[in-house]
Amino acid sequence: MSSNNKKWFSLNLSNRKKEQSSSCSCGNTSGQCASQQTPEVIDNEQNKDGFEQVFDVTMDRRTAFKKLTASLMIGAGAVSTSCSVISSDESKEKAQIDWEEQFKGNYRLMTDEEKQATVERLVRSYQLRTGKTINMSSKNAEENVLFGYAFNISKCQGYMDCVNACVEENNQDRNSQMQYIRIHEMKEGNGFNFGEADDNYYHEVPAEGHFYMGTQCFHCDNPPCTKVCPVKATWKEDDGLVVIDYDWCIGCRYCMAACPYDGRRFNWSQPEVPEEEINKNQHYLGNRMRKKGVMEKCTFCVQRSRAGKNPACVEACPTGARIFGNLLDPDSTIRWVLENKKVFRLKEDLGTEPKFWYFMD
């Protein structure tokens, strides 16, 4: 890992050198081990994004506009690699995976077998690149489940433990400090005045005379973002989660303009997470590694919630201000909150029907 002095992990399918140096019999990764091979220096090392991954060549800026014809060249690259006698079985396999991944269909329209197959390809591809195994799920929505969320404004103290937990759980880009959750510090007596609220404070909390309100994707029942997507790369699942197929997204950012709640984030550059911080328990629609130029957002931690766990933010909240559960279960705590507390939602007049309620003690 220390071979090219890279602190970050980045999706880099075409860098074959990595896996050679990744394991060493003495387990020493700092480069002191005598048996470790010195890897060749790759001089124009750079981050590879989703569609550069499929090139089997390293590229510099001078050749960059050749990328315009990316898809064609991927095909050519894959064919030449798979026909080549010289290249190893592994790189053939990688080319095969890249080819299938580039031209696979929309996840929502896949059968369960196809979903399983793409998940297996992604796991295998990760293994080929890094030598590490991840666990990726393609679990579908469960019957009789509709996820909902409630946020207790009187309880939140603004500690931001939820933000931390969310970033770690969901493998968000560390460079741009992408965060799904925003905590707005509001002045008591000013009502819910978001304009005057501070969502990036750093002082001892809770501050005198202030209260805190968290926002994130509200998983609207009538989501404006999914309606505008030209390719149906984002949709509402049966359990109410609004999800994105990162591989199908074309990055037009129309959904971002359509969301009234600032719930969506765009990967303006190649997202990077330090290798040791990667959460390896993943879901296809959730926290698997993203690439540059695609949208992402809160999925109520689909990898956790579909397994019965609470989302990371709920689990991390030290005050119990965050309540998550099944809206269809009449005995669930979320239902009790909706039925017994004075709940409201943000921008209800827009008709988006968010499944994220606020309440006070």
């Binding site: 489940v145 509709l146 909390v205 609470n310 269809l328």
Partner: protein, 210 residues
């Protein structure tokens, strides 16, 4: 010629109309007026799910039933250092109060809970029965069910806690439900939650906004 144009015009208009109709029809509105109606309607058919959060709940829990709510809370007694209290408090408390004879015990506990008019140690502790707490009327309350003590004054919080609006849920969202009890978050002697610094600060966002 003019007839021909009219025909084309008509054709164009009807094409537009058809496509509009098509788009309105395919735009299948949910059969429910809003999300609350949908929840109400769909939950009448609710017959449980296969998802359980049993696996995520720690073993040291006890089941309690309060009103119509039954759920798990963490067991308390095993978490208290040197419980049972009677292991030290063999004699009644009155005999231990001579400071010339004995070293001060529990000196670190400062009571910051209500004011001195309302509460002191013996409001909750029983000098005659140290292994149990006591209610305002002097009845014994088990340490594992200390919420019964808190609920004497904090009735609204107790109601919310039973329902699930107050107190953190542990394990998962799926049944069975397990929640923290009062003393897991609030120190009973100083129940106010302390202030601290936020765990992170987003420097990128500041740059973006300047």
């Amino acid at each position: 010629m003019i007839n021909k144009y009219k025909y084309i015009l008509l054709l164009g208009c009807s094409l537009i109309l058809i496509s509009l109709l098509f788009s309105c029809k395919s735009h299948h509105e949910d059969e429910y007026h809003n999300i609350v109606d949908k929840i109400e309607a769909k939950s009448t058919l609710y017959n449980g799910t296969s998802i359980s959060s049993e696996a995520y709940i720690e073993p040291n829990t006890i089941e309690i039933t309060e009103g119509e709510h039954t759920f798990l809370i963490p067991e308390r007694k095993s978490q208290i250092t040197s419980y049972a209290c009677t292991e030290c408090h063999a004699k009644p408390l009155g005999e231990l109060q001579d400071s010339t004879k004995y070293k001060k015990a529990h000196w670190n506990i400062k009571l910051k809970h209500a004011n001195a008019h309302t509460m002191n140690c013996v409001t909750c502790h029983n000098s005659a029965d140290m292994d149990n707490l006591k209610s305002l009327t002097g009845e014994a309350i088990d340490f594992n069910r200390s919420y019964n003590l808190c609920s004497q004054c904090h009735t609204q919080q107790f109601k919310d806690w039973k329902g699930g609006a107050h107190g953190k849920r542990i394990g998962g969202w799926a049944p069975p439900r397990a929640s923290l009890t009062c003393v897991n978050c609030h120190n009973p002697h100083q129940p106010q939650i302390k202030s601290k610094w936020p765990v992170r600060y987003n420097t990128q966002k500041e740059i973006e906004r300047d």
